[in-house]
């Protein structure tokens, strides 16, 4: 009976810290991977001067491993006016950005589902709510000069 009470106290604490460690590590690794993928393909687009559809599809297939996501593409041109000329979305796919005088290509990726580690941030080890509404998703954002 003494063991029962001891286990009843220790088990939830052990479970919570284990879950937190695993989920936090999972988020950190996945987040790093997503950032690396986005950075890699932004650099390719910046160096080539064109964001090829095949390159976009390759990036998308690698990002799909981590769940459903949305991709936001922009290219910016600084022509001396107050705001840069911005082209966005599918319009920049397969467009010769260097030829058209664009200076920057940006890729942002936002995942749709919130990561389960968010729940661990909302509750303390004893089950009390922290009063926070945490909505952490995987994301990636990178910019590259068109060289």
């Amino acid at each position: 009976m003494q063991n029962f009470w001891a286990v009843l106290v220790v088990l939830p604490i052990f479970t919570w810290y284990s879950m937190f460690s695993v989920l936090d590590r999972n988020y950190t690794i996945a987040q790093q991977a997503v950032e690396n993928i986005v950075y890699e393909y932004t650099q390719i687009a910046g160096k080539k001067g064109i964001l090829y559809k095949s390159i976009l599809e390759e990036m998308d297939s690698r990002l799909s491993k981590y769940g459903p996501h949305e991709i936001y593409l922009t290219a910016e041109k600084f022509d001396g006016s107050a705001l840069p000329v911005k082209t966005e979305g599918w319009d920049i796919v397969d467009m010769d950005l260097r030829e058209r005088g664009y200076d920057l290509v940006n890729i942002s990726v936002i995942y749709n589902k919130r990561h389960p580690v968010s729940v661990m941030y909302e509750f303390s080890v004893f089950g009390a709510t922290t009063g926070r509404n945490i909505d952490i998703t995987l994301f990636g954002n990178a910019s590259s000069y068109i060289r």
Partner: protein
């Protein structure tokens, strides 16, 4: 009496461990956790703020299926419009388009679509690329 003192000693040790746990593990972990949550949330928000609400987002066909499944029921007031070449399919109250086609036959999961959220028109539009 031996039993009484040994129990008291165990109680004291357990209480000391409890105080140690709360002071040295629970409280620092809690504040570190809050700081981590804030920092990560701010990074996520920074990226989300860089993308405007009505920005054209590139998605795969499975996003159409999940959007239609999420929105299209009897009480839905948002039109989900899928544009494929010259054909337009509208989903509202069910997962069948106005022409009777199911969403799984309209959305091609291998293709890319550009998603536009048009709040004024009350519609989410997917244009096949």
């Amino acid at each position: 009496m031996d039993s009484f003192w040994s129990k008291l000693l165990i109680l004291g040790i357990v209480a000391a461990i409890g105080v140690f746990f709360i002071g040295n593990v629970y409280a620092p972990q809690k504040s570190a956790q809050e700081a981590m949550a804030d920092s990560t949330q701010q990074s996520v928000n920074a990226v989300k703020m860089g993308v405007e609400e009505n920005a054209p987002m590139i998605v795969k066909g499975d996003a159409i299926i999940s959007t239609v499944n999420q929105y299209c029921s009897g009480t839905n007031t948002v039109d989900i419009v899928v544009v494929k070449a010259s054909n337009t399919y509208t989903f509202r109250a069910s997962t069948l388009a106005d022409g009777g086609q199911s969403v799984t036959s309209v959305a091609d999961i291998k293709k890319h679509y550009v998603k536009y959220i048009k709040k004024d028109a009350g519609e989410i539009r997917f244009v096949e690329q």
